[in-house]
Amino acid sequence: MTGLFTVGDTVRVRVAYPPGHVRTPYFARGKTGVVDAIAGTYRNPEDLAYGRYDDPALPLYRVRFRQRDLWSDYGGPSGDTAIIDIYENWLEPAEGGTG
């Protein structure tokens, strides 16, 4: 399966608050980062948690964020980062990320 994004792409995490077995942390929603790696394709845990095994597997991205983009008052150096594993259905194209 070919994913929507490739390594180096700037992406934004969707701002959404659906119920269920969501694996995208709240603190990352709406934040912009850069695809650091593609981790492969995996079945969507939001479906698996409810016994839906037939849905297609999703690309899983390792998205790198600058800590200062995640937390406006981050106290450490500007070079510090966080990499979060995020399924494709939570990402949209964006511009201007510097993670």
């Binding site: 942390p25 603190f27 899983l60 937390w71 990499i83 979060i84 399924y87």
Partner: protein, 223 residues
């Protein structure tokens, strides 16, 4: 009649002293309330066994296997990567395959290593739960599962590292990995200075659980 319930004392008591030794026993597991999730997990196990999906022995065996894992498994991979560049390349690509090549069982869940360099220090957390490469590190420590570690590591990693006695220079990037999804992570620490003459067995002893989580550094070979 002699015994703990009735023995006499040669000192005075100002109250009726009936030794209740039962109170000194550690409570049985069943004496504390089961949580909703404990009940659900137990019920699920029983249903799977009743329906013949798994056998009781398979469930028991899986628990036994999980309990048998320890950070020594991970340390073997790290020490080998320090001494064998072809192996290190394989480890960086696919930990499960690298483990299999050494006859180590890394389990079915895909595991990746993240490499520390002079410019990057990695630390692992699972902010949503407590995902952990159990096959290679054993059961996670309680602090790894605590809300404090999970929330603060991604929020103020350098403060957490300092509490573990680990200071990372300001010009080194601290990179937090939040294992929210299908992969598990293990840190490949830098081989410590002064370990040049050591063989693989000796190197394994420098590799601690905590340095593979990233909250610490390998042991100093001089100590």
């Amino acid at each position: 009649m002699t015994g703990p319930e009735t023995h006499s004392h040669d000192h005075d008591h100002d109250h009726d002293h009936d030794h209740d030794h039962a109170r000194t026993f550690q409570p049985d597991i069943e004496d504390s309330a089961f949580s909703h999730y404990q009940v659900m997990a137990q019920a699920l196990g029983e249903v799977l066994i009743e329906k013949g999906v798994i056998t009781a022995d398979e469930l028991r065996g899986q628990l036994e296997w999980l309990d048998s894992r320890s950070p020594e498994e991970g340390a073997k991979l790290i020490a080998r990567a320090w001494t064998d560049s072809a192996f290190k390349e394989l480890l960086l690509k696919d930990v499960n395959a690298a483990a299999e090549s050494m006859d180590l069982d890394a389990g079915d869940i895909p595991i990746r290593v993240v490499e520390n360099t002079p410019d990057v220090h990695n630390v692992i957390v699972c902010t949503l739960c407590s995902c952990y490469p159990r096959a290679l590190l054993g059961l996670p420590p309680d602090w790894y599962k605590s809300r404090e570690y999970r929330s603060r590591t991604v929020r103020e990693p350098r403060a957490i590292l300092a509490e573990f006695g680990t200071t990372i220079a300001e010009d080194v990037e601290v990179r937090v990995h939040d294992s929210t999804a299908d992969l598990r992570y293990l840190v490949l620490p830098m081989r410590p200075e002064g370990s040049e003459g050591l063989d693989r067995d000796a190197l394994e002893h420098l590799v601690t659980r905590d340095c593979m989580i990233g909250v610490s550094l390998p042991r100093d070979p001089q100590e």
